[in-house]
């Protein structure tokens, strides 16, 4: 190795995942009881360390898969957190990622293992290190995204009603929305396909189901 490089101290690089889910009412985050020291037994984001042969994106996918068993999850890098004393054991810089997953479809795999548990975003327990700050920033980012591009494909079942989609947006943005204006706006984005099928569980009349037009949805993404 070149001398110039040798002079510098290496650090541990961690990845922490803010895993968002939606349960038809509330935006939730998956937390785990940390099973090693320090702070063993406290609530924490799911995390792990970067391996020599992978990118941070790879590491986030791997860690997410370990917890959820799921491949091909939506993941986006949030930012890196680097307070020198954030982890008291050893200098560790952590890059936070956030993920969106469908709770209903994958609930069994999730909470069995790792003593994982979903918490409403308004109701997060005390967390280790700077994980609360990571969550704060992830929510801010998710809100921003919801305001500029369609979102929800990853958080909803394949077929969903307008009401469900609106509730998801309300949960993300933390505010009530007007039904007519919401529908108008969403339909103008032209990313939904209206199905010939109704969901009959919510009312006597039933409500039409929609699905995302994957191609148009992707084209919309920034």
């Amino acid at each position: 190795m070149k001398d110039h490089y040798r002079a510098h101290k290496k650090v541990l690089l961690a990845v922490d995942c803010i895993i968002f889910g939606f349960d038809q009412d509330n935006l939730k985050i998956l937390l785990i009881k940390r099973d090693f020291e320090p702070e063993k037994g406290k609530w924490s984001l799911m995390g792990g360390f970067l391996r020599p042969d992978e990118t941070l994106d790879d590491a986030a996918s791997r860690i997410l898969q370990k917890l959820t068993g799921l491949h091909d999850i939506y993941l986006d890098q949030l930012r890196s957190f680097s307070q020198p004393e954030r982890d008291p054991v050893d200098r560790t810089v952590s890059t936070a990622y956030y993920a969106l997953i469908n709770i209903e479809e994958h609930n069994e795999e999730l909470t069995k293992k790792h003593s994982a548990e979903w918490f409403n975003v308004q109701d997060i327990p005390p967390l280790i290190f700077d994980h609360d700050e990571m969550i704060r920033q992830a929510i801010k980012r998710l809100r921003y995204k919801a305001s500029v591009e369609p979102i929800g494909f990853e958080l909803l079942p394949e077929k969903f009603t307008m009401r469900q989609l609106q509730k998801l947006y309300e949960a993300i943005l933390g505010q009530k929305l007007d039904k007519r204006n919401f529908i108008k706006k969403i339909l103008s984005q032209d990313v939904l396909i209206k199905l010939d099928e109704k969901d009959m569980t919510s009312s006597k009349k039933g409500s039409f189901l929609y699905k995302f037009d994957a191609e148009k949805y992707d084209r919309f993404k920034i």
Copy 2:
């Protein structure tokens, strides 16, 4: 150190700075001729390694100050880049920051040292590693910022004309803007103070100078 931690490989953590400046006509980026191996002599972003006692933000400030001599520069974290082979010498993850500085006020300090040179954003030479990708993403971020909040305080002299501000926006966004609509929009944001003073260099009539209202400008920031 705890066993759990010992098992993981440490990496070098670098910081690279995309330094934006504006010369009254073009958006520019400051590059340096790299003075060590590998890739010695090639153009590169200004960078350095994280020290044990500092945050990534601190490191970016320090590195920026080394090159520019300037304190209190606007700096924002872009994201971390982690391809395993991005630096051929040793595994190095780099966190990119972008900075905005006023070229005119600081040109001497800058280009003397470190064989630094300003390049138009449309005209960046081949760079080492993944620095071109970092620049691409930084420009994208800067454009986004310019579209949602006032920008330019850091890139313009203290007093400036509407024409200069418009040219800055045009350089950032890479497109011509309508003069009347631009002024209307900027004034509606209520972050400018019109001075009783004219710049007489650009025309016979002279044009009024403005400055930013620091308090209102900051309140606008996301």
